[in-house]
């Protein structure tokens, strides 16, 4: 049998999370003796999936799917799962995947575990670890249905290369007009900027920065690191930065490789949302700031001196290492 993965793409290119869920599915297939089939929508080149252990790719190309639509995409994945007889379906935890997942779960009559962070502890009974209480804890969830749907947390498994190549097959699901009842009128998206969701590195600023006029140095630091910018809740509440940058328990979750917090005290609600990040660096003038207890590296100092100096040093470092 096969494990089905849905490999997300943007503008015809696979996203990095596609390779992560492929790696996860490959490892899972190693335990269960299954093969791995991917379904990709409007992606020209899917050959790289073979390098992460995918055996077969179902390639869907349909003009109607040029824009993401949760019901229609859920329908595509459902039909692919049924065609392959897949008992396990794996998707990512991106905003779009989280949008389509509950629809897919109901339509496939599958038990769904979101925010999964590891391979199953056991496959019979089927038990996986997932985050709960906005990253303040984990729970072990047992899925008791025949078909299982797993949403893998970003950066929780990593990329694992495998030998092999994937065969390709055209796949034309039949789409219903009802799938498109929610119509996109317009999209307003900043281009050329790294988003918090996709970023490997996030640089975040708090109230310690005193005002929106001081964000230039945060942006410079983000630029040199190739990072996305984020902020604490009061910063967005005061309108210093857009709401879309607010991270934390009630804002966006951050699961980056590196999270740099500048002038952020480290309140429990802030930490809850960013705890899933691998490495945390804190720059704060108060040595007693609670964030230092949750950090891997810390600099006790004035952000207005430390950040510009760090930007200069990083530029030198980048020049030497490229």
């Amino acid at each position: 049998m096969s494990i089905l993965i849905y490999t997300e793409s943007e503008e015809g290119k696979l996203k990095k999370t596609a390779f992560e869920i492929a790696s996860y599915a490959r490892a899972l297939a190693g335990q269960t003796g299954d093969t791995v089939t991917a379904v990709a929508v409007n992606v020209d080149n899917t050959s790289e999936l073979g390098n992460y252990g995918v055996d077969k790719v179902l390639k869907v190309s349909d003009e109607k799917l040029s824009r993401f639509n949760a019901r229609a995409y859920a329908d595509v994945i459902k039909q692919a799962a049924e065609k392959e007889g897949a008992k396990m379906v794996i998707i990512s935890s991106s905003a779009n995947d989280k949008y389509l997942a509950p629809i897919l779960a109901v339509n496939l009559q599958a038990g769904y575990a979101s925010n999964v962070v590891a391979l199953p502890e056991s496959t019979d009974p089927f038990r996986v670890k997932r985050t709960a209480f906005t990253n303040k804890a984990f729970n072990i969830t047992e899925i008791s249905t025949d078909v299982k749907l797993i949403g893998l947390s970003k950066n929780s498994f990593g990329l694992k290369e495998a030998e092999g190549s994937a065969s390709e097959e055209a796949f034309a699901p039949s789409l219903d007009d009802k799938d498109f009842a929610v119509r996109t009128e317009s999209v307003d998206k900043t281009t050329g900027k790294v988003t918090i969701a996709d970023a490997e590195i996030v640089v975040s600023g708090g109230r310690g920065l005193k005002g929106p006029e001081n964000w230039g140095m945060i942006e410079e630091l983000a630029d040199v690191l190739g990072a996305a910018t984020a902020c604490s809740k009061p910063v967005s509440d005061m309108g210093w930065r857009p709401h879309s940058e607010h991270v934390g328990q009630t804002g966006k979750p951050v699961a980056a490789n590196l999270y740099v917090a500048v002038g952020i005290s480290g309140a429990i609600q802030h930490l809850a949302g960013i705890n899933a990040s691998k490495v945390k660096v804190v720059i704060n003038s108060d040595p007693e700031a609670p964030f230092f207890k949750a950090a891997d590296y810390g600099v006790v100092g004035d952000a207005f001196e430390v950040v510009p100096a760090l930007v200069e040093k990083l530029k030198e470092f980048k020049a030497q290492n490229s």
Binding site: Y112, S114, A132, N139, I143, T145, L258
Partner: protein, 248 residues
């Protein structure tokens, strides 16, 4: 217009999370419960529809009697009536199925739920509910207008926003942005007094098998000591991030 607001009863955001009975149960000792933050934004938007467009607003929770103070708080904020389906929520599918019954019996035009609860974090209930009832569904909703039977919603997407249109009935997964933080309301004395008189109906649940169950909880591993670097020695920080942490 009839609006149903789904209210999840969750530990206050400042709560320390502990477990009891061999890590099989969330320890509610000393924990304050509140309306799930995403639901509070949704409830406030519902109040806007009530005041500006004459909508009738019902709040609903699937939970035991202990959730009634949270429902009363929603009534004190201004909801007209409340429904509690008397069952311990076991998973998102269970909750969504119970809600589907309430939605179908009540003939609601608009159901406002949260994008995610801060305790279970499933991000499941509104989407499952939409699938079960066949209503349209907009997730990560940060703006909503209704004109007759047509809705126009703004949805947060990676790196921006998207405007979508659809007809009612509609279910949204709402979040901050639906209203501003400063629009959130704290119940006043009059609201609290009035809430006591409002109808709170308790319904018995549909019989149903959950599809998933939580068998155990775990706390994150304790964190090691932070490595402090002097502001005069930022080269050392870069070296450690490069060689040791391997993140740059």
């Amino acid at each position: 217009m009839k609006i149903l607001v789904c209210i999840s009863h969750v530990p206050d955001t400042t709560s320390k999370i502990n477990f009891a009975d061999g890590d099989t149960r969330f320890d509610t000792n000393g924990v304050q419960f509140v309306i799930n933050p995403n639901d509070e934004f949704g409830l406030t938007r519902a109040m806007w529809f009530k005041e500006k467009q004459g909508a009738a607003v019902t709040v609903v929770n699937i939970g035991g009697p202990e959730t009634e103070p949270t429902l009363r708080k929603a009534l004190a904020i201004g909801a007209d009536e409340a429904i509690r389906v008397n069952a311990q929520p076991t998973d998102g599918f269970f909750v969504a199925t119970q809600l589907a019954k309430v939605v179908q019996d009540g003939g609601y035009d608009l159901v406002i739920a949260g994008r995610e609860s801060i305790d279970y974090n499933g991000g499941m209930v509104p989407g499952m509910l939409a699938s079960l009832t066949g209503a349209n569904f907009v997730n990560t909703c940060i703006g909503l207008e209704i004109e007759g039977s047509e809705a126009s919603a703004i949805r947060e997407i990676d790196g921006g926003k998207e405007t979508v249109k659809c007809s009612l009935p509609l279910i949204i997964g709402g979040q901050k942005g639906l209203v501003e933080e400063s629009d959130l309301r704290i119940p006043n004395m009059r609201g609290i007094m009035m809430a006591r008189q409002k109808k709170l109906t308790v319904l018995e649940p549909e019989d149903l098998q959950s599809r998933t169950s939580v068998v155990k909880f775990e706390k994150p591993a304790p964190k090691g000591e932070v490595k402090l670097v002097s502001p005069d020695n930022l080269d050392e920080l870069i070296r450690m991030l490069h060689n040791e942490a391997k993140v740059i």
